[in-house]
């Protein structure tokens, strides 16, 4: 491995945090004075992040795992940042959605006054999420997690109306508890292993073998990250918080935040650091199944379009956690693929709901009807999103759900597989409800005067629906090998993570 020939590999990683952090600073500094600066600059920042994440995909394919030593300290003494295939997979997902969402925000955020504040918080949240993904240090993960969480609390309250503030308070109380559980888990882990570096913790735990403390730590992390991921016993904040935020933020929160802070962190810690056991695998699977069923059932009864999407997020996150929890190669592959697909179509659906709110001023499904005739782009793109999330072939959601069910059958979880099929039908039911009430049927008289949304908003919805349509192409062997399989291998490798990290330092 000749890294000297490509010095950029060493120095690429900090940029995923530095670019959004620096742009947040600049936007807050200059955004108030220069009109148009926040829009252009934030879009430039997210675009460059997206390009860098694609580039990181090439790097990991070429060089394998790359470790960046922050400040030149050699791990496990200093903090390190790790770029492996799972990292670059997550980076692509996050930054792709973030880029399309910032394009959408140009038009949408005109309704709010302080656009620069929005972009500042948005970029801070992005910095936090990218940080969680790239870091290889336990406490550093906690710090980035808090950066992302704090900015998301503020963004949920961005409208400063009754509902927004109430939702934000509720979200904050539960989010703070989650963070404290994670911190407590880190404290126990540190007292057991005397190190904070994830690879080193993994190595030490493998040496001391089974220990009661590890179970306790696993329970604390499950509570903390499960709350961030909105798994069912810990889901109460999500249906309030996600709909209350402005639409681009709902898209970010439901699309990527719960995955970056919740599912990714859970998967990384359970597979690579603590080591997956039969117990934790079955706990994850059961939690996934419960979230799947309950989220779906609760979504069915909703009349508020964004609240319905929020419950649907709980249900779909259940699919992802269930699939990853199985721990088989096919299961993890299916879970990661569904994670990617869900990021795309759920952000598309939330952007659609934002467009409806932008045009009609309501989120109540009963007050809509026949919107496709007036808003063709929103109508058809939401049709694509809804069909994709309910698993209609040949859209992307079909393939990932099919893979999840196949993986469950392969692992001989027949009951779980049949539940997954039933929930998929349930998903179809509530998305048909959305389509029927909002987009088909007669146009209500009160909605005669509405217009289609501005160009920037249309652009990002069209881009997302195109990815939805062609998402299944990721399963073509050549593409799958480079994008999904490599990421799966990182998790399958389990405790060998430590050898990989320390091997690539030399």
């Amino acid at each position: 491995m000749n890294l000297a020939a490509f010095p950029i590999t060493h120095h690429l990683l900090p940029f995923f945090v530095a670019i959004p952090l620096g742009s947040a600073f600049l936007v807050s500094l200059l955004g108030k004075k220069l009109k148009g600066f926040p829009d252009t600059f934030s879009n430039l920042a997210t675009f460059s992040l997206f390009s860098l994440s694609l580039f990181s995909l090439l790097l990991t394919k070429r060089f394998g795992t790359v470790v960046y030593k922050v400040g030149g300290w050699i791990p496990p003494i200093g903090i390190c940042m790790v770029l492996d295939s799972l990292t670059s997979f997550m980076l692509v997902t996050i930054n792709l959605v973030a880029f399309l969402v910032t394009i959408y925000s140009i038009g949408y955020m005109e309704r709010y006054t302080a656009k620069w504040k929005f972009y500042t918080l948005f970029l801070l949240m992005l910095a936090g999420m990218n940080g969680v993904i790239v870091t290889g240090d336990m406490f550093n993960l906690f710090v980035f997690l808090e950066i992302a969480s704090i900015s998301s609390y503020a963004l949920v309250a961005f409208g400063v109306e009754h509902e927004e503030l109430e939702a934000s308070f509720k979200y904050m109380v539960m989010g703070i508890m989650a963070s404290l559980f994670i911190l407590l888990g880190i404290a126990f882990l540190y007292s057991l292993t005397s190190t904070l570096n994830m690879a080193d913790i993994s190595r030490t735990l493998a040496r001391i073998g089974n220990n009661q403390t590890v179970f306790f730590v696993a329970a604390l992390f499950l509570m903390g990250f499960g709350l961030k991921a909105a798994l069912v016993p810990f889901h109460a904040w999500l249906p309030d918080a996600h709909p209350s935020a402005p639409a681009p933020i709902s898209a970010m929160l439901s699309g990527v935040l719960i995955k970056a802070l919740g599912v990714y962190a859970l998967a990384r810690i359970f597979f690579n650091v603590l080591g997956m056991t039969a117990i934790s695998s079955s706990i994850l699977m059961v939690l996934g199944i419960i979230s799947m069923v309950l989220g779906g059932l609760l979504a069915l009864g909703q009349e508020d379009i964004k609240r319905l999407f929020a419950y649907s997020s709980i249900s779909q996150i259940g699919y992802v956690v269930f699939a990853i929890g199985m721990g088989t190669p096919l299961g993890i592959l299916a879970g990661l693929f569904h994670l990617f697909n869900h990021a795309i179509f759920k952000s598309l659906l939330f952007l659609n709901s934002g467009s409806i709110e932008y045009a009609t001023g309501t989120r109540d499904l009963r007050k809509m009807g026949g919107l496709t005739s007036k808003m063709p782009v929103t109508g058809y793109s939401s049709l694509v999103g809804s069909m994709s999330i309910s698993g209609i072939p040949p859209l992307s959601g079909f393939w990932s759900k099919l893979l999840i069910i196949l993986a469950a059958i392969e692992a001989k979880h027949f009951i779980f597989a049949s539940i997954a099929v039933l929930v998929s039908i349930l998903t179809l039911a509530y998305y048909l409800k959305v389509q029927k009430l909002a987009f088909f049927g007669e146009l209500k008289d009160s909605l005669k005067g509405i217009k289609e949304v501005p160009l920037t908003m249309k652009l990002s919805m069209i881009a997302l629906s195109i990815i939805c349509i062609f998402g299944g192409l990721l399963l073509i062997p050549g593409v799958q090998r480079n994008f999904l399989n490599l990421a799966t291998e990182v998790l399958i490798n389990g405790n060998n993570y430590a050898q990989v990290i320390f091997g690539s330092i030399k």
Partner: protein, 112 residues
């Protein structure tokens, strides 16, 4: 051992406060208590009985050092806690402006 137990009690007091109290400010205070309990526990992890400050000098053999790392981490955690508390207090103030009360049972515009 005793001091760890105290830590646990402090934690439980905070959690009780968050779960039972109806006043927003009391909930915030509960959060503060839980935060202190966790921070205190983290500092205790690095404590050694009769330990010395971890400063190495020439011709000096230190048998029993206090672990400095948890202290650094807790400092960071306190700063994060400060930011979170400031934000949640700001939101509680805004809530008071809108609803005219701190009673959480009366702040109910959202369903379930």
């Amino acid at each position: 051992m005793m001091i760890y137990l105290m830590c646990l009690i402090l934690f439980c007091v905070g959690v009780y406060c968050i779960l039972v109290k109806k006043n927003l400010i009391k909930i915030i205070i509960g959060i503060g208590i839980v935060e202190y309990a966790v921070n205190l526990f983290f500092v205790l992890v690095g404590y050694r009985v009769q330990g010395r400050a971890p400063i190495l000098a020439q011709d000096q053999v230190i048998q029993n050092m206090v672990d400095p790392l948890p202290q650094a981490l807790v400092l960071t955690a306190i700063v994060i806690g400060l930011a979170v508390t400031a934000l949640i207090v700001a939101i509680a103030m805004r809530l008071y402006e809108k609803y005219g009360t701190f009673d959480i049972t009366k702040i109910r515009k959202l369903r379930g």
